[in-house]
Symmetry: none
Subunit: 200 residues, 4 copies
């Protein structure tokens, strides 16, 4: 073993971990939890079956960790280029458009999240809604602000979220399944419709 390898080691560790995550993500997304046994995840990741347990305590642990990661990526994407000081509509349209674009580019992530939500794993996380904690606040703030300014209907946050995000996730699924064909113009129209649902 030479120096190069010595320095690689930490990387190899991270790489291995990432490979496991990616393998599990793909398998669960494509085959469901039934179709993703640990041995298969290990094989797809190119590691030994026992190795997974060096990085994750459990299958549960692995799954939950992936979920959290994917969730975070969703928020990151929505915050990228977020027009913090723009008008409410612009900010909302940015969020909706960014989310939809991301979901249809990453069908595995969408499928995984849906598998997760409706499974024993997702029971706990349900209450945390679609989005994480820290950054979600920015989105919550936007909605709160819009309600305060009497731009949005005077409804609870949870309901407003459902009105906005519910249809967007649904149409992404339909797109992935080939049921509809989304393009930029159509995305804009749908986001616009969701805006109409929110607007007073």
């Amino acid at each position: 073993m030479d120096k190069a390898e010595k320095y690689d080691k930490p990387d190899k560790c991270a790489e291995k971990r990432e490979a496991i995550i990616q393998a599990a993500l793909e398998l669960v997304a494509e085959q469901g939890f039934h179709g993703a046994p640990m041995a298969m995840i290990a094989e797809k990741a190119g590691v030994g079956a026992g190795t997974i347990y060096r990085y994750f305590e459990n299958k549960d642990d692995l799954i939950r960790w992936i979920y959290k990661n994917v969730e975070e990526r969703f928020v990151e994407v929505m915050m990228q280029g977020y027009p913090e000081h723009g008008p409410v509509r612009e900010r909302l349209v940015h969020i909706g458009t960014a989310l939809v674009r991301h979901l249809i580019n990453e069908p595995l992530q969408l499928r995984f999240v849906e598998q997760f939500h409706n499974s024993p794993y997702g029971v706990d996380h349900r209450r945390e809604k679609i989005f994480g904690q820290q950054k979600k606040d920015i989105i919550s703030e936007l909605f709160d602000e819009a309600v305060a300014q009497q731009i949005f209907k005077p409804l609870e946050l949870a309901i407003l979220f459902s009105l906005f995000f519910g249809p967007l996730v649904d149409i992404c699924r339909d797109h992935i399944l080939g049921f509809i064909k989304l393009d930029d113009a159509l995305i804009e129209q749908v986001v616009g419709a969701c805006w109409d649902a929110l607007r007073r």
Copy 2:
């Protein structure tokens, strides 16, 4: 065979079948497919393990049969008192209100359907959208008509369905989880918001 027998015999059979269905529905709704092994369903239904296979070919068969039944009940509920000749808005509000009322009264059915949709079982049924075939046409016709009359936005049916049904199902889930508290007034407001999303 006297009257007593006439009324008893069929009941015993149907009762047992119904007990199995109810047991499976509850277990799947509460614990997911993982948490609903055939032996547990049998025990909860108060029958022998082998008995289930007299009524259903398969676990798949059982699950699919329950799904179909639940689906049909959804449609029935929406069609009950449907103001066939009323204006579009009235008809739509009826459907939305009836659906929400039913779902929050039957949380097990909602949980079951969600489990089903995101599972190997649901892959096939996915394209059939949320609702059945025969009666769905009445709903589809309503939407088609509303588009033709330029009351709704000129979007595909799948998208219009997502805009309308997506949020409604979501808020029912939130209600069941105790996140929000739906009452008649609130249901009306939300259905109204969904109407706004559809309206031109």
Copy 3:
């Protein structure tokens, strides 16, 4: 219930019993013991599952009873037209020819017997050789006589039986499976060959 039925009853009983036997024989012959569950036998026989247990104590009992019956029919056939006072060769040829003709006319019986011999059921009966007890003696006597007269090789009865009946049963199986095509001339030739094996 009128007289006619009263007198039929015993017949009906026998008919039912016979139907069960025939159904079981066919199923076992065609599908093996694995492919002949009691419920299927009952259905094929046109009786209730429980009814079989009025006629036979057990599945074992049923199977063993069929075997005995079939065995007896084999002996009967071989004894039909048996030239009791003819020369040894004539008697032997009669037996061999009659057996082969019967087996290829009743492939189900042959298949059944073979299934039986090689199965837990057959372990006990093995020692009884291919044929029953009472009538077998006539055949045994023939062989004994032929040995005493120094027509046959001086070998034990069991070995002489193997030399004679072994190939005959084998060629019948081959015929049934379509491997060879037996006709009267060929049967005679093969029986003749078996005779050669026995002859001093």
Copy 4:
């Protein structure tokens, strides 16, 4: 890795596989397929139930693999010391004698093969006659040659095989069951009798 490991490691693997095969062979031979559930095979082999599935895809796979192995051993034994250039009779006697000696030394193998032939497993293999493909040709060639030289009766190969191998297998079974007591002299006599059946 030192020598010890080199020789140990492969052995452990092979040993376990061999133990499974041996356990299954014995159980099937002694109790039939009914009496050889996977759990019992595992226990007898001293391995976990799941372990069998690391070595064999299926129960079918296991059974078929054992059959193939046993079949090959039969052919090997018959070919060992085969007097390729000797006269027809010598070659035939070698084959018959070798087969009988092997079968009475390995009663489990004989019982297994018989179980196999008359079972769902054996249906496919039936047409391949008693012996394999590659090496069988040597035996077939011998028989063909003997027919061509007008040493054997002018009959199909399948019939000649039945005349020769049928009785031999039968007497081995009788010997194993204690019905007769084979020794070298007797084996020679019986093989001679089979030769007589074949000879013109």
